[in-house]
Symmetry: D3
């Protein structure tokens, strides 16, 4: 008697650190397993936990990684290439800010940075294949996000051209993932050009309806833009192959709405919370995913403006467990 | 027996055109008066209606303008310098798009464009004084709007420095308005750095609490970011000295939320509507303004994604009239 | 083809004044008729408009009153004895404050004041009979309103004894109204012991289910205590024989709820408004009254914390007219 | 890794009784600790648990009290002087009802009762100091609560004078608490003159902004008056130094609203409930308190019209524990 | 400057009667025009107004009908064949009740009744063509409506077979309408097998996606089943070619929900109302129809459980007029 | 210290099967007890679990049944005769579908089927008496359910006559239950003629107010018709003597409302869910039942379109346990 949705799993990115048990894959997987997690999503951009170059080339290394996880009692759910995917497309307004995600050698050189990012993406395809994974999670990057709001009026053709260019950049990458038997499940996220259902549709069109262009469903980003995240599943369930279980809340006031006044996370009307502390209707989400036969992982992504990460991680595993519907 | 709130008035910017009766101040004011408007807000950037250079210098010209309006049966409520105010501060990402608001001579030259804009603002102060007006309406411009969402993480000090710079640019302008006995009522608006209550507070701090830094209250922009526009009045009523009566609606779906997928106005979850067709609680707004003793104008700003401008203007005057509370 | 509900009518109490047209019945009825009112509710406690002593005794005077109204084009809907009814039962805590409603001769003498009030009520029965009216409107007064909230714990039997005493005082009065063929429609109102449905039921029990103990339905007082005023009609429609059309709103904040901090009317979370400016669902009320066959008057009672009485009265008549359902 | 908010704790007043384990401090603290409570709030007016006279004078006694608690495994969170604080100011309408809180020797003698109450308050300051406590909880009492509703019209100056008198009475008491290094956290409560945010502000003004005049935040009393208890925290968090975790619900009908028809607790539209059974959004409250750095106790106050006290107490400790946010 | 949506128009069925002005087409169209209607929808089953047999055969008669309308100042919007369409498919449970819609000669003979109905439908196609109409309105009839609720469990294949049979019956009729250049806009309605969007889709499939199988959009029937009638337009706008402007309300209680206890119309939780008296968001409907370019008629269908038909008709024309959006 | 409401209990009908542990009363009661259930509701129509003929006649058999349950650690809460009660009254439209509930010998013979059903009901009365049970649960059956919606117009007198006939059929059965000291608690359910409060009132009238005609309260059927299931308890609590704890949800869309398009359970807007997964406010229900002194059983009925029965049953027991209020 087992549910189709797998979980609970944990995205390790926000927990990795220089101190034990957060400093090595061995330590952090044991810690995660001890909290009840059955899977981990590995950030390929954190060398404390994972060496992407090595994983792309060496089956031995990948087997070791699998073994470390198995010893801890977890499996790998997906590789994350969020930061590299982001760098596949960067609007110049963010060049400086996003250089931090790339090696120093390409700082100040957007073209080289992009090439590095593409190479990373291709390596992650290989690594996923070696690890036996058929889904990975990433970002689309952004070419025109500063033109989010229609003021000033957008130059004629700006949007169309941007998505065409995204298509040109991502199609070959997606082809490589097809070869590797692996999806790229894009996290729909403000700051990326693909930030809602409408932009995801434009993206899928731009990559010719590529069957590896999938969605990493994360309702927290939808709460923060007040999109109907349950209806989203009704529309796009065929394209959802990953799931970040992340909570959020939106509490507008007379001082702030969605845009939240350039404030930091704690002081924003919209902000991320630990599971169960926000407004996301997880009962509804798990019901819909069960109804549509979603059979991949439910992965906690934790960012909370109030609660400690340790409490957040500890509460997250039983929270997800209690929401899984056995069908 | 007369109400404290004055109205109805009409902002002429969206109506001005090359064909009669929209092509001259004489014609358009007669048309407006015929619909029941008692005041007009004049865009200083539309040469078909108004010559700002002349108005700044010539009392005769200003008296003529007043006379034209009086003949039509309306008064001038405020001068609008939205476009020039916008150009006082422009983020490079929008340089090209915003050049359209400036004379060709300064295109491609942000520094010259800014100087032109400042000069325009100063001229509008003079012109307001000559016209006997104590309020004008404008925009703050924007230095960091592409960093609206906190991804990528904003460079340290970015927000603080941007508002300091806004303060440096606007303080001398505001001083000139003080000399002219006139407010600048800034329209709080996405795309500007002052887009909600929180950013307005930062701006007021940046200009040393200047008593001419006021608000042009427009609820439509608050609906589109889901800010509590009634509570806004409770907090900021002391700084409100102009009022754009403009309707809007926000209907999120599974495809779109606030950000609305780079779509055009008709296809957005959040969009502007004609008075009474949207979701703004005007009964609540007029009640609060009456309660706090707002005694300036209620000016229709019309932009509607569905209805014809003629119908919108014709329905707007009685709509506003019926909402005015005599106290 | 005429609706069963009669209206619009106007309660004159809040409009009577020393200046024309508010200073005589002749003037004020003409003014009311000019606004579109078809009936007037006359306060028997305002000597500028009505002499209750005379009306109780003289058919000639009553015929004159009827004639004055007829000349103006209105009819009398009900006599109001709110203030006298109030004085039939007064808790000592309010003795001083309520003396203002009585003649000086009984000030400081609660027993004499009560006797005066009862006599007034009896005279109003007579007067109603002479005027051909079968409904009057009043208050029950209050014996224990300071014990509204159950802190301190109420003395054993306090509530039961208070309602018994109300029954003893009101039963003979109601009998006199039975003889006069006239209801007393009590306005359910905080400050009175009968302030909601539950207390009205206790009151009806205390007067032995007297068939003249009826309700003057006024939804504004229900909004201000958040009682379900539509369901109220479903339950009590058989006892409703008068209707004050009065609007109200309740806007709680972090500073105030229903009790509204000893504040004055403008500054309270709950406050009265002009028709259409508040939150009362008049469409729902008129529908329910039509459904249950209510066939008496719809009488505007106007108290508004913001709008001028003239505007309130002028807007009230068409407002009521447009809500009347012809069945 | 520990949260800033301390808890769970239990207010002992509603549990103290003549039978074990509710009959002595020793027994009741052991019982509370067995349920998971880490702190107890002690009613100074219950001689079965505490001797205030002795505690004010004897450090030895206070050390014994601390020891009893320590042996049981709990600490003292605050002393409660609700009943004595109530008697510092009593409206004559409630004289008889409130005498029950005072010794027989002062019954029927409001002046002596008040002096006794003030003396009690001063003793509780001393006792708090000896017990090492920097917060106590109490009531302000009431001088004009019968004039809660503005009918009859309040005598000119009534409210202003009442709060001045409250200020005169409480300022010296608060000064004594300042000397003792202890807050008086007033429970905002209908029946007291300080029953919402607005009246609390008037009170603080009346005591000259005294820095020991604090709030014992109890959301149940806000639900019952439909005040926005979350926004309350945004406004008054700097004055909150105690917290009663108490649930409530408000279910208005066609028969009852907030005032609830002189009915007893079970039959009221607004009534108290056990934690989790009512409508209070405790997730929201604990989030806001965490955000604003509240670092004192979360104390269960239990009064429920349906559930047994034993079940209420047993469920309360894990309920509070699960809501505490470690930051 | 004219709106795309045409109106107001009036469906004559509920108004036709034996007394003037409701007894002849000449009289009733003059009456309708006098109320402000610009179009009329004619029930082909009411011989007082229209002779379908003659219209199918005689162009002269049709020209006369057009002339009568033109003289009155209205045009014909659509022919209605609701009753005949109903009889194309009848579940035996309703045989007796539905016989009333057919001529006596076929009573008790379902097969003959069906043949008569099909013949009527074909004649209405001809008549529409002669009258120059490209839309007509009707019902689908019902084969399995008693199996609306899944208890008892429906026999295997029941639904599929029923819709196949509907397809077999309607396809040739729709083909005849194609020949006549006219849509059948089916009113989606409980009692018919096509009662919501889902069943309409099944029907369209059953008739092979026939391009004349369209929708007569009537939101009142959607309110009464709590279907999202605005989202309905988003989904099905391409199939909407007629529009019944009809209001309704749903007010569930503890005694009744949607099914409303076999009660008559006045006593049901869900019931029809006159325009503006119910809960339909007509502002939203007209906005969506304008957005999607609906360019046919807005036709009042009036059935109200409370208001008189005369008042309903008189108020309906300006109500519709004020909602039409000129684009 | 024990609550008045008894539970958790489990209705065995949906769990009985041919495989252990669902195949015998002995096995299934042990399984239920192992999940924490304290009572079982036994379907008298499932021979794998219960032999109604034997139970009606043999006290020995009944004692054995009691013993089997006692050995497992559960008691019998009620006997269920849903299917037999259904067959007491069947509309011809459902004759074929409902035959499945009866023995083959009466298939195609409605009269014989009805007689069999009545005999079953009488036997269940006897069996209940032998088992010491004072409540049983059943259905009323249906004579006119195809006329649920008032289209076509119902034949004159149809409803009245149907309820009279129900009264004639059920009164003698209810009398037999009176003799047996046992209620029939009818489950109010679409498909039965008693499907809401209004029809239950008609039924009680039809059986002369019989004091054994009670209600098996099941909120899931009320959610699916949007009836106010909490107010239902306020009105009918005196007639509630059984309680099915069953969850449901209603999520209307642009395609479906309450009637849900002849779809199967998973694809309906209204559908049943496992406890806690739907929209039923069980906190409110248990509170009201506690308030009104309901002292019978809380019995899980499980039907869920998504979750496995094993998970549903396992989660149900602690869910019910946690909602029981000890008073």
């Amino acid at each position: 008697m087992a549910g189709l949705i797998k979980g609970p799993a944990l995205f390790l990115a926000q927990f990795a650190g220089d101190d034990a048990p957060f400093n090595t894959l061995e330590n952090i997987t044991k810690w995660a397993a001890g909290l009840g997690y059955k899977g981990v999503q590995i950030p390929t951009f954190d060398p404390r936990l994972f060496d992407l170059d090595k994983a792309a080339e060496s089956q031995t290394y990948c087997d070791e990684i699998i073994g470390i996880c198995a010893d801890a009692g977890v499996v790998i759910t997906e590789l994350s290439t969020h930061l590299q995917g982001q760098l596949v497309a960067v609007n110049p307004a963010y060049d400086q800010a996003f250089d931090a995600f790339a090696p120093k050698s390409v700082h100040g050189n957007p073209k080289a940075r992009q090439e590095w990012a593409v190479d990373q993406m291709l390596k992650a395809a290989k690594a996923s294949q070696r690890l036996g994974l058929n889904v990975s999670v990433s970002f689309t990057g952004s070419l025109i996000f500063p033109f989010l709001y229609p003021w000033p009026q957008r130059p004629e053709g700006l949007v169309e051209e941007a998505f065409k260019e995204l298509g040109r950049r991502w199609t070959p990458i997606l082809n490589a993932y097809e070869d590797a038997g692996c999806d790229i499940a894009y996290e729909i996220h403000p700051g990326e050009d693909v930030f809602d259902g409408h932009t995801f549709e434009m993206f899928v069109d731009a990559v010719g309806g590529h069957n590896r262009a999938m969605i990493n469903y994360d309702p927290s980003h939808f709460v923060l833009q007040q999109l109907d995240y349950l209806a989203f599943i009704d529309i796009y369930h065929d394209r959802i192959s990953a799931y970040h279980v992340k909570d959020a809340e939106f509490n507008p006031t007379g001082r702030q709405g969605v845009y939240s006044g350039y404030a930091g996370w704690t002081d924003r009307a919209g902000r991320f919370r630990s599971l169960g502390d926000g407004q996301v209707d997880f009962k509804g989400i798990f019901s819909k995913l069960a109804q549509y036969g979603y059979d991949s992982w439910a992965v906690l992504e934790w960012e909370c403006c109030l609660k400690s990460p340790e409490q957040g991680a500890a509460e997250g595993a039983p929270f997800i467990q209690s929401h899984i519907i056995e069908t």
